[in-house]
C-alpha cells in the first residue's frame, strides 16, 4: 500500500554452532532497517510481516523451515556466509540484506 512501511522481522536458527557472528548481525540489522524510510522492524511474533530474515549460522540452515517461512510474505535466508544461496562474505551480509529489502 502506498505510504505504508513494509514490516521486516528477524528469526534465528537456534545458534548451536554458528560459523558467523549471528548476534552481531542481529544487532546491526534492526538499526540498519530503521534507517530506511519505507521499512519498519517488528518482532517475529507479530502478524502481517512482509519479509522475515532467517538468520542461520551455517549451511545446514535449521531455521529455514515452513513454520517460519509462513509467517511472512517473503523471506531472506542467511545460511553461514551466504544470502539466499549466493555466497556473501560475513562482513557484507547486513549490507546484502538491506540491498535485497530495498525496492528495485
Amino acid at each position: 500500500m502506498p505510504g505504508q512501511k513494509r514490516r521486516v522481522s528477524l528469526k534465528y536458527c537456534g545458534s548451536c554452532n554458528p560459523l558467523i557472528d549471528l548476534s552481531r548481525i542481529g544487532q546491526v540489522l534492526p538499526a540498519a532497517i530503521s534507517q530506511e524510510t519505507d521499512l519498519l522492524f517488528v518482532s517475529a511474533e507479530e502478524t502481517n510481516i512482509d519479509t522475515i530474515i532467517i538468520l542461520c549460522g551455517c549451511p545446514r540452515a535449521c531455521g529455514n523451515k515452513e513454520t517460519i517461512r509462513a509467517r511472512a510474505l517473503r523471506c531472506i535466508v542467511v545460511a553461514g556466509e551466504s544470502v539466499d544461496a549466493v555466497p556473501v562474505a560475513e562482513k557484507d551480509i547486513s549490507t546484502a540484506i538491506i540491498k535485497k529489502l530495498k525496492p528495485k
Partner: protein, 483 residues
Amino acid sequence: MMCGDEYRESLRRLKPEVYYLGEKIESVADHPAFIPHVNSVALTYDLARAPEFEELLTTKSHLTGEKINFFTHVHHSCHDLVRKVKSLRALGQQTGSCFARCVGHDALNAIYSVTYDLGKKNGTEYHQRLVNLLKEVQAKDLFLSGAMTDPKGDRSLSPSQQKDPDQHVHIVARKQDGIVVRGAKAHITGAVNAHGHLVMPTTSLKEADQDFAVCCYVPIDTPGVIHIFGRQTNDDRKCSGCLIDQGNPEYGIVGGEALIVFEDVFVPWEHVFMCGEYDFAFDLVERFATAHRQNYGGCKTGLADVLTGATYALAEVQGTVGASHVRDKLVEMVHLAETLYCCSIACSCQGYALPAGNFMADPLLANVTKLNVTRHVYELARLAQDIAGGMLATMPSESDWKNTSVGKYVDKYLKGVADVPAETRMRLLRLIEGMTCGTALVESMHGAGSPQAQKIMLMRRANWEHKKRLAQKLSGTGESRHD
C-alpha cells in the same frame, strides 16, 4: 517459562538442608561456592528467552500445547533428539561448564517410557502420575536433578546382600498415603540448586531386591533430605575473592555435585513411579543411561570449542601459533571434538520410538559416544596443556600480580608477545587450568557411567552372531565346521 533471576528467586524461597565444608548453608543462590553453578543453570532459563537461542531451547508441550523450556520436553522424534545435542553444544559454548539440567531431563524421558510399559503390563497408575508431574514441571519450568547412582557399598554384592542395606536407596515402609525411603545417592549433579530430585534405581535387580526397586520424585526441601556438597579442584578460589584465579568465575567447573542422604523420607503415592517392580529396573537404567550418554558429544564438544579457542588464543599470545607442531595439535583438538559431536548426532539420528511414543537414541551408538568422551576429553586436555606450557602449573596468583611490590615483576615476566598484556595470558591460562585439571576430567570419565558400564552395554548390544555369520560366509567356515 522462568528467566534466570526468577530461577534464583525460586531457590531462595526453598529451604533445603545443605552442608559444605562442615557448615550448614543458608542460601545456595547467594553463597560463593554455589553461585557459578546457579549462574550456569540460570543461563538455561535466560537463553530460552533470547531470540538467538529460542529455536533450540524452547518447544511446544505435547501434553498442553504450551511453549515450554526444552529441558522439560519429552522427545517425540529423531529431530528432537538431534536438537537436544545441538542445544547442549550451544550451552557448553556459552558456559564452558556444566549446566546440569540435562540429567533431570533425561530422567523424565526415561521414567515416562518405563512407567508406560509398567502400566501396560501391570495396570499401574505410575504413568499418569508421571504425566501429572511433567505438567507441573513444564508449567513451573522446574529444574530436577536425576539421582541414580547409589553409594553401592561392597560392589561384589547385590543390594539385598549388602551388610548395610542403606548402601542403595530402598523402601523401608509402605503406608496408606505413600512410602518411606532410606539410603543415599552419590555425586548428583546440580543437587543443591535443583527444585527436586528424580530418584531411580542404579542397577538391574532381582526378586530379592524388590525393596530397592524404587523410583520417585522428592522436592529438595523435603524433611530428611540432606545434601553434602562435594569439593572440587581449587574450589577455595571461589571463596577467596579472586576472579582471574578461578578461570571461569561466572560458570565454574562442571556441575557442582553432592551426596544426597535420604533419612527416612516420606514420599506420597502421587510421586511414586516404581515400587517393588524389580523386573523394570534394568529398562529404566538402560534408557536413562542411553539418553544421558547421548548428551556427552554435545556438551563436551561445546566445552572443547571453548578450550580449543583458549588454547589457540594463548598460542597467539605466547608467539607459538605459527609453529607447525602447534597448529597440528590445534587441528587434532578439532578432530577429537568433532568426532564426539559426530557420535552424538549419529545416535540421535538412529533413534527410535518406544511404546509410550517418545523417542530414545540408539543405545549402542550412545554408549560409543560416552566411551569416546572418556578418552577424547583427556586427550584434548593433554594437547591444551602441551601447547600452554609449564606456566599452567606454576603461574603466580592474581594477588601477587596485584601486589604493589612484586606485581610489576609478574607483569613483566608473564608477558608474551609485546603488544598483549600479561593479564590476557594469565586469564587464558587459568581458564585452561580449570577446564583440564582435576574435577573436570574425572567428570568426563565417570559422569553418565564409568567406561566399563559403557563396555557392558556394548557387549550386550553388539550383534555378535551376525558378525560371526558374515565372517563365516566370506571365509567359507560355516557353523557346521564347528558343530
